[in-house]
């Protein structure tokens, strides 16, 4: 550990003394062959909600405290829904970190553990849960942000171990969608749509949708997964149009639709088993300029959760 610290200091010293040098030789553009060989890996190719929120902070300084929502893990035995819920909860954790709301981070941590229990993977995550609580108690926000991503990734890793590899794509897509839900709230609250460029990522939305299309039949045909894919397709199209639209009114209208789609999907993900998936494009309240929390409020579930075994 000591060596690591000395090395870090050494790296900084070298950067300071030599300066960072611009690469010497001219680098040619990518060839078509190279573009064909580009990989997409879940853990790095999908931005974490924290990464999106850091960019939002620079674009428009959101009032995160008004965006914190308390949502309970869904009571369900459907593993694909639980995988989606992990993503939503992780994103909620990042919102709580940005709001520096330690209690809410703890609540999210507990809910994530609950979902992990429902997935039958709680034991390997106990350490993570304890770390989240400890960091929250110490108001260590940077460590919390990293720990949230680590927790989400550990859930994914355990899914791989349990032959549930396909569920990873659902967790990543849900985390991004919940981030989009919140980020669109923030953008719509700005009269000049500040931060819109941060959310306009049609390529990512399309890619996530394609990955859901590649899931095995039984997972792909689940109601929520079908809804999720439809939402992502519609969102990709709207994001593409929104980025090109010079008219602020039309752009706002498109971002509103994106918000409605993502918020509706998040509600559906967090709904308990006896609640059928929310239809797409359900009318949702117009965003207020403040107090966004009511827009994305997920249905409240009972506080007692069943712990179904793997179906």
């Amino acid at each position: 550990m000591q060596t690591g610290r000395y090395f870090a200091i050494w790296v900084l010293s070298v950067l300071c003394s030599q300066g960072a040098t611009l690469s010497g030789p001219v680098i040619p553009p990518m060839t078509e062959n190279q573009k064909q060989g580009v990989l997409f890996i879940d853990s790095l190719s999908v931005p974490s909600p924290g990464e999106v929120f850091v960019a939002m902070n620079k674009a428009c300084r959101p009032n995160w405290a008004t965006l914190v929502t308390s949502s309970s893990a869904p009571v369900t035995t459907e593993r694909s829904q639980l995988a989606l819920a992990v993503g939503v909860l992780a994103a909620n954790g990042y919102i709580a970190v940005e709001a520096q709301d330690g209690q809410q981070v703890k609540n999210v941590g507990r809910e994530m553990m609950q979902v992990a229990k429902s997935l039958g993977i709680s034991e390997s995550l106990m350490g993570r849960g304890n770390s989240l609580m400890q960091f929250a108690d110490n108001n260590d926000w940077e460590a919390l942000a990293e720990e949230l991503e680590a927790t989400e990734n550990e859930v994914k890793a355990t899914m791989v171990g349990q032959k549930d590899k396909e569920l990873i794509a659902l967790t990543s897509a849900a985390a991004w969608l919940r981030g989009l839900d919140v980020a669109t709230s923030v953008v719509l609250a700005s009269p000049t749509l500040e931060g819109a460029s941060v959310i306009e990522q049609p390529a990512l939305a399309r890619r996530l949708s394609l990955r859901l299309g590649d899931l095995p039949g039984r997972v792909k045909q689940g109601d929520r997964v079908v809804l999720m894919r439809d939402s992502l397709n519609q969102i990709a199209l709207l994001l593409e149009e929104s980025g090109k639209d010079p008219s602020p009114e039309k752009r706002r209208d498109k971002i509103q639709k994106i918000h409605d789609l993502s918020a509706s999907m998040v509600v559906s993900i967090m709904a308990s088993a006896n609640v059928s998936p929310t239809p797409l494009m359900q009318p949702s309240p117009k965003p207020a300029l403040s107090g966004m929390s009511q827009i994305t409020a997920a249905p409240t579930n009972t506080s007692t959760h069943s712990s179904p075994s793997k179906p």
Binding site: M30, F40, S48
Partner: protein
């Protein structure tokens, strides 16, 4: 400290438009899944990963958040590997690649969606420490899809070399 703040801001970079994604969208799933599995599984405590994380800790000390993920490659001399990433305007990024082998020359390049390389701050270790390390800092002017490349420019050994890449953002 305050070294990076002196060095930063990284020169503003220019990316041209949002480009197209079709080239990466239709990748064979087989390759994707195998990479997925490697990265989703608990990280194998390789020496290249340890060196990459050790180097990246310099940036963590300066307020950068490290992504909890790594990208492993086995590269031969002259070979490059490419990864799609989404970067955000306003954020600053440091990508760090490392290998346990000594005296290797690696290069990290970030290309915009159209395939043009971005300029950034690059750093290469001087061989004073065991292993080989390189880093690239960029601050994209446009949010969107980018391609990350790790290339093994030169290596004393003729066999493929394991490399690990991590990244941090702020």
């Amino acid at each position: 400290m305050g070294i990076l703040p002196i060095m930063m801001p990284i020169p503003t970079l220019h990316a041209s438009g949002s480009g197209t994604v079709e080239s990466t969208v239709n990748q064979p799933l087989k390759e994707e899944v195998s990479q997925e599995s490697r990265n989703a599984a608990p990280p194998v405590p390789t020496e290249s990963r340890r060196l990459a994380l050790e180097t990246a800790s310099a940036f963590e000390n300066e307020g950068f958040r490290l992504r909890d993920g790594e990208w492993y490659n086995s590269l031969s001399k002259g070979q490059a590997a490419f990864l799609q990433v989404t970067l955000f305007a306003g954020n600053r990024y440091w990508f760090v690649a490392a290998s346990a082998e000594n005296s290797e020359k690696m290069r990290i390049v970030v290309y915009d969606a159209s395939g043009k390389p971005l300029h950034g701050d690059s750093w290469q270790d001087n061989g004073a420490h065991p292993g080989s390390r390189t880093a690239l800092g960029v601050a994209p002017a446009v949010s969107g899809m980018y391609f990350l490349a790790v290339e093994l420019l030169d290596a004393p050994a003729s066999f493929p070399v394991d490399t690990c890449l991590v990244y941090a953002y702020k």
